[in-house]
Subunit: 205 residues, 2 copies
DNA sequence: TAGATTGTTAATCGATTAACAATC
DNA sequence: TAGATTGTTAATCGATTAACAATC
């Protein structure tokens, strides 16, 4: 296993893992994985070969072995702790999503600014005031902060999280965040996704 | 303006548009756009040059002109109609998100299978039974279907939508969909995003 | 003219994939 | 041995970006 995987490879490993976890055979071929996760079989083999020689020629890959390997490479050996900031529709949906635990994550806290919301419960979590975020991050050992605030607030929340030591952010606000080196930001913008689809509809051949 | 933009360029245009819509100056440089959307300035110029000569050397780009251009290229001149299938936490959040209209989209209907939910209201929409999906798509002229069902149901919903003539799908279920050529699928998998972040935390240098 | 910034080239870099020897 | 499938090479393809002439 090596230190730095190509970014494109990292992006595909979760897809492979997802497929493997639903696979019913004890052995899978690169063709199987490819079909199940929508990529080229050569791609699959190349991606997996970065992680060492894990297959058997003529046979394929041991499903369970590969699952364990991918979980380990992705850092999912223990549950990752996530805090959610913003408890609007989307934030509440995240907090209430029960599927995360199976995929390696645990939502440990939810935050909001609005006085009216503090103390209310979403997804089994009591909403906490945002000024607790920094101290909570340190005390609870939060690994990832999901930012689900309005656009105006997102940079400020990112700054707070980074100040408290968080090194991974998932930003749902439609703003590009500026963070110091060593902090990874992933951006999910639903309107952007729709706009890309719109482009393809408008420019169909 | 040309027929086929590189996919990577298409993915960035919405970011540029988003930035421009919040920009306060009547003129912006490629450096401004780059800073505001987190990409390289040469990249911005190259992307925009695919759309024709829209800048003025020594000056920059006219903000409003560029906004109109990008909207047109992205097919956002008229509101795109979206139907949502699945009214769990995430589906309800989508239905209730008011920010879509400003970005070119209108949620026109929401669907579910569960008898108990039919007729209830989310985000101002009455939840309709899934067996109405195909006829509704045709009658209402739905452009895009967002699939927010459990994994097991997503392929079936995709098939229904495609059968009814939809050519663009946004899939939130953690399954790779198989669709006929000419249909564009975008996949948003939140657990995947968290897993990519997890990788970076685990393999930090 | 001097300063600024585009549009475009060309070099570089990285990602994809067909093909096949290795090997079970 | 025959069939299957990996691991890896090498070719191809596409994306990024520094650099700079063109031009406002």
């Amino acid at each position: 296993m090596q230190q730095t995987l190509p970014p494109a490879t990292v992006g595909r490993l979760p897809r492979y893992l997802r497929f493997l976890e639903t696979a019913e055979c004890s052995t899978v071929s690169s063709e199987d994985i490819a079909a199940g996760s929508g990529v080229n079989a050569a791609q699959v083999r190349k991606d997996l070969s970065y992680l060492g020689n894990n297959g058997t020629r003529g046979v394929g890959y041991q499903t369970q072995t590969l699952i364990r390997l991918l979980r380990r490479v992705l850092g999912l050996s223990s549950l990752m702790k996530i805090a959610i900031v913003g408890t609007g529709n989307l934030g509440s949906a995240l907090a209430g999503y029960s599927g995360f635990v199976n995929r390696g994550f645990q939502i440990v806290a939810a935050y909001d600014v609005s006085g009216g919301k503090i103390g209310r419960s979403i997804g089994g979590l009591e909403i906490r005031p945002i000024d607790r975020l920094e101290s909570d991050i340190k005390e609870m050992g939060v690994d990832i902060v999901a930012i689900v605030t309005p656009a105006e607030a997102s940079q400020e929340v990112a700054d707070m999280a980074v100040r408290a030591g968080v090194r991974a952010l998932l930003n749902f606000a439609p703003v590009s965040l500026h963070v110091e080196k060593g902090v990874t930001v992933r951006q999910v913008d639903l309107a952007t996704e729709f706009q890309i689809l719109s482009y393809h509809l408008a420019n169909r051949i």
